[in-house]
Symmetry: C2
Subunit: 377 residues, 2 copies
Amino acid sequence: MGNIVRLAVLGSTGSIGQQTLEVVRALPHRFCIVGLAAGKNISLLSQQIDEFKPRFAYYQGKKSPAYPDCQLLSAEEIAGHPEIDTVVIATPGRAGLMPTLAAVKAGKTVALANKESLVMAGEIITSQAKKNKARILPVDSEHSAIWQCLQGEKEKVSQLILTASGGPFYGYSPARLEKVSVQQALKHPSWRMGRKVTIDSATLMNKGLEVIEAHWLFNIAVDSIRVLIHPQSIVHSMVEFTDGSVKAQLSYPDMRLPIQYALTYPERLPNLQLPRLDWGNISQLTFEPADLDAFPCLKLAIEAGKKGGTYPAVLCAADEVAVDLFLSQRIKFTAIACLIEEILGHHQATAQPSLSQIIAADHWARQKVLKLAGAGL
Amino acid sequence: MGNIVRLAVLGSTGSIGQQTLEVVRALPHRFCIVGLAAGKNISLLSQQIDEFKPRFAYYQGKKSPAYPDCQLLSAEEIAGHPEIDTVVIATPGRAGLMPTLAAVKAGKTVALANKESLVMAGEIITSQAKKNKARILPVDSEHSAIWQCLQGEKEKVSQLILTASGGPFYGYSPARLEKVSVQQALKHPSWRMGRKVTIDSATLMNKGLEVIEAHWLFNIAVDSIRVLIHPQSIVHSMVEFTDGSVKAQLSYPDMRLPIQYALTYPERLPNLQLPRLDWGNISQLTFEPADLDAFPCLKLAIEAGKKGGTYPAVLCAADEVAVDLFLSQRIKFTAIACLIEEILGHHQATAQPSLSQIIAADHWARQKVLKLAGAGL
C-alpha cells in the first residue's frame, strides 16, 4: 500500500469532479481531500465540504459559505499549495489553464481532465512541467488508454489511434445536422459528461482537442495521430509501435477508471464499483475512419494543431463561446463549426506565444465570435 | 542498438523456424546464427547451413551432410552451448522438451514456440529457469500478446483472455464434424502453421495447450484464464487487471511479429516486412465465448490443466499420436477427442512428477492410444 495522497479537486462539482470524489469514497484509505474548488454550484460544494472537510476551498459565487475550519483560497493558490500532492484539474474550459499552470509550476502531480489548458498553452505547460519536475497524468479516457498502453515501452511509437464514439449524430447528413436540437445533442450515446464536453463530442471538436492534447502529452506529431470512429466506446484508444504491434486499452465507458488510474498510478487497485467487461455481452467492436467532411470541427482542430502557435487557443475560445451560443439556442448546431472556421480564418497568429499572447488571442476570439454571431453570421 | 545476439534455432526447417530465419534476414545486423537443428528435412537444412553458416548443427536423418566448418551436436548440446545467447525452441511436440530443459538449465534466454514442453513439465522448467536465471520468452502469438500487455505492469492480473480464431470448423454441428477431411482440417482460415498445430487449431486443443502454457508462463491459475473465439485473429489476447482495465495486443496474424519481439525484447524494431493494421479495412472485430461442448479437446485440456500432475503430459502425448492417426487417415476428426478422453480417464496420475515420471506417462499414453485406435476404439 502506498502513502496517503493529499488531493485537491478543482472543479469538484462538475461531472469529473464528482466522479473523482466517488473514487475517493471507494478507496477512502488512500486519499485525503485537502482542497476543493467549484464554480457556481455552491450547494453541492457545501455538501462536499461537509463530507470531506477540506482545509482549503474556492468557489466562484457571491454568497460565501461559512466554514470555520476551511480557508478560502483562489484555485491557483490551492493548486500550488505545499500541503497538496496531487491536483485533479477538472475545471472545464479556459478556466482550467491558470490552475494547471500553477500546479505545474509548483511541481505537483497533475491529474489533468481539462483539455483546454494543454491545447491553448501546451508548450508552456509541458516545458514548465519539465523544469519543475511536475508530472502530468492524463484523466481523459483516450489519453489514459494511450498512457496505459505505453507503460513499460521504451521505443517511440509510430502512431496513436484515438477512438471516438462518433457522438449522437454520426452518420447524419448535413441537412439533418442543421436541425438537431440542444436536447438531442446533450444525449450522448455512451458517456456521462458535462454539457460542454457533450456538445463537443457531438461536433467531434472534443476529439480534435484530444488530438492536440495527445500531441503535447506524448510528444508526438499531430500527423501521427489518427481518429477512428468506434461507437461502442470500449476500446478507448490504441498505440501502434515501430514494429507494427498495436496495443489497446478496453473497458466500459466509465470515467472512474481513468480517474482512479491517474490517482493510484503506478498501482492498480480493485474497486468493486468499477464494472468489468462482460464478454458474454460484447459480440462486436466496430471501427471506421472518421469522416472529416461531415464533422468539420475535427478537421479544423487537426489543422489548428498542425499550425500551432495561437491557433489552438483561438480554436478553443471560439468553440467555447459557440457552444454556449448553441446551448442557449442562439445558433444552430452546424453554425458552431462555421463560426470557428471564420474566426480561424481571420486570426493573425503568433508562433511560440507567451502566456499573455495566448490570453490575448483567447479574448480576441471570444469577442469576434460574439460579434459575428450577433451579426447573424 | 543492442549487441549482436548469438542465436540457435531448433526446428529451423519448420514453419516457426523458417519464419525466425526470415526475421534474422530482415534484421541482419542484430543476429548471428550459431546453431541450427532440424528433424528430417535435410535438403532445407542444407540450404540454411549454406546461407547462415552456423558453427553447430543437428539433424535427425540418416545421411550426414558434410560441412567442414559446422560441427554436429545434439539439439540439447546446442541448446546449452556457452557460445549461444538465445535459443529459439521451434521443435514441434514432445521433441521440444529436452532441448528446452537443456537451454533453461544453461541459463539461456529461451524464445519458446514449443507448447508441449511447458504443458508437460511446466513446474520443472519454470523452477529450473528461476534457479538458473534463464528467461523464458513466449513466441506464441497469444502469449506474446499477453506478455506485451504486461509490460510495465506491477500488479497481479485478474484474468487472462486468450483469443482463438476457432479454426476452420467453428460453428459446425457434431454430425458435420464427424465427416471433415484431413485436407479441410489443414486449411486454417488465418494462420500459416505446421501440420500438427493446424489440426490442433481445428480441434481447439491448441487453445487448451495454450491455457496450460499461459498458466506456467504467467503464474496464474487455470481458472483465471478464459478463451474467446475471435475469428479475425487480430486481437491476439488480452489481460484484465485488478482495476477492471483490459489491455489487448493487435496485429495481422503473422508469426514474424511475436518472433521478432522475443528476439529483440525489450526493443521494438521497425521491419518493413511486417504488415501494419489497415484500419480502413478492419470494420469489425467479433468475440464469443468458446463452446466447450462442441470442441471437447479444449474442455479436456482445461480439465487436465486444473488437475495438473502427469495429466497434461498424457493429454499432450495422446493428442500427438491421435493427430498423427488422423493425418494418416486412420481415424476420424472427432475420434481425436474421444481417444484423448479415454486415455485421460484411464490414467493413474502422479502429482508433482519427476522428469522420468513425466516421460513414463508420455510413453504410456502413446502406447495406449495406438492400442485403442488399433482396436477400432
